[in-house]
Symmetry: C2
Subunit: 331 residues, 2 copies
Amino acid sequence: MFSSASSPTSKFDVCAIGNALVDVIADASDDFLHTHKIRKGAMTLIDAERAGMLYDIIGPAIEASGGSAANTVAGTASLGGQPAYMGKVKADQLGAIFRHDLHAQGVHFATPPSNDSAPTGRCLILVTPDAQRSMNTYLGAAVEFGPSDVRADIIKNSQITYLEGYLFDRPEAQSAFRLAAHIVHEAGQKLSLTLSDVFCVNRHRNAFLELVKNEVDILFANENELIALYETKDLDGAIALAREHCEISVTTRSEKGAVIATAKETLNTPAAPVAKLVDTTGAGDLYAAGFLFGLTHGKPIKEAAHIGAIAAAEVISHYGPRPQKKLKELL
Amino acid sequence: MFSSASSPTSKFDVCAIGNALVDVIADASDDFLHTHKIRKGAMTLIDAERAGMLYDIIGPAIEASGGSAANTVAGTASLGGQPAYMGKVKADQLGAIFRHDLHAQGVHFATPPSNDSAPTGRCLILVTPDAQRSMNTYLGAAVEFGPSDVRADIIKNSQITYLEGYLFDRPEAQSAFRLAAHIVHEAGQKLSLTLSDVFCVNRHRNAFLELVKNEVDILFANENELIALYETKDLDGAIALAREHCEISVTTRSEKGAVIATAKETLNTPAAPVAKLVDTTGAGDLYAAGFLFGLTHGKPIKEAAHIGAIAAAEVISHYGPRPQKKLKELL
């Protein structure tokens, strides 16, 4: 059972802060990635010019609200939770889509839109025939998110505040991050972080390490990200360090399930079966959604892991980073 | 074999004219349709106010370029054809999505964007658990399409010009329609029409009848639409009249296949198997895509019908009105 110090009157179970993005999802070949120097399986930041150039040459696409942490809270809402989100869009058509989809899922989202000239951010996601996704993110209005957008009243009233590692790419967001961490601990709540991406970890290792050692209660990573953070030879070494730093560390390993380490134990938990793997976008986000939903609803860690696995399996069985089925009904 | 009078130098196989729309696709229950007075299975025109109200209350959605005739030419392009499209969007984010998706599929589309205040049109599509779609269309910038947007040079160079019946709801579009029909026949090419929707047929029966009797060479309808057009007791009576008026009439009957009538024969052709029916949006549009692709590539009618059935089966196996697989590879 998760030893949350949160008061039973917390209004929100999970509050997430992240880059607010609309996904533009298209199929692509491995040759296309190679020709256009797109790093397979990773998230690469691109500027407006490259975003326009890439959009001009990719195939027909569909659009779906995305953003890693936003996908996570969409998932906790779909499971029946009460989440909140903070992130920045512009008051344009894509911003309206992003806002609608969070509200329609039941997520509290009230960050005022940006008045800057940059449009709502978008992520061009190229899905190769092996269902792997390669992400090209133009942050747009998302870069405007800063400490003044951090709502202390919401964080204080959330059992867990969940931060996406992608925010580390911007100094303003890092400040917002640290402010949020301070508020979380002042209020006796829990802080969670996902490492997001191995290249992101490599770019900001020291800042990540400092936060993980001093602030993070619940850490999410995939095995490559955790190894990159600690620069260990293998996963066992990385998990041993994570155990020292965080109350709970969750290391996802795709079809091999997840390893969950606490001070007392190490659990190897299985992945859920997937009938047809279509697009792995959102797998980690939805695993976190299920796990956090379980924790904030008094479930034992093993059961939280099971809920995470179910949610991840649903999202990789179709295009798009958020559940198409009501996850509550899948449990 | 289709007795097209077209010159072998025609640049385009099919040129389509229609309402340019972006689809906003969400799941809904039958209760929701009932509560909000949404006509199941039909296309209902709505104004900006109702579009905003409905969008506020529907669930999380995905966005995909749509528009009936645009879906059809996207399908012919996916089959390896050379289609063109004419329709009106605004120069806004949804308009850019619509334009990108046609160009990315290989469809010629050069209609200048509207400068009017209305945004790019959209169709709120509610998919019930039985995979039926109920469409709520806010036309937006699409209403600006008129005779000055009809490109005679393209129509003259297209073997078949395909018009969607939905255009009949607007006088300006009706004028464009008639102008296009005139150009088609002056150039010795073929005119095709889809009746689109039974309520649309009921609204404009006399205008439709006049066009079908005097101008249309290839008519597409589902059985209810054809019966509504001719106000006959049964399908056989309606098909007998269609045979008198059009060189080819194609009547689609969902899982029962299609009935194709020419002066010489009546063919009953089967539907293609569908592994899992998800969303029937685009079924008629893609059937027409396959059939027209077959006709314009010298295939016998029976084979054209088979290509139509394959294309329709692909599109109803997933959300969204356009093919996700390269149809050419499915054949």
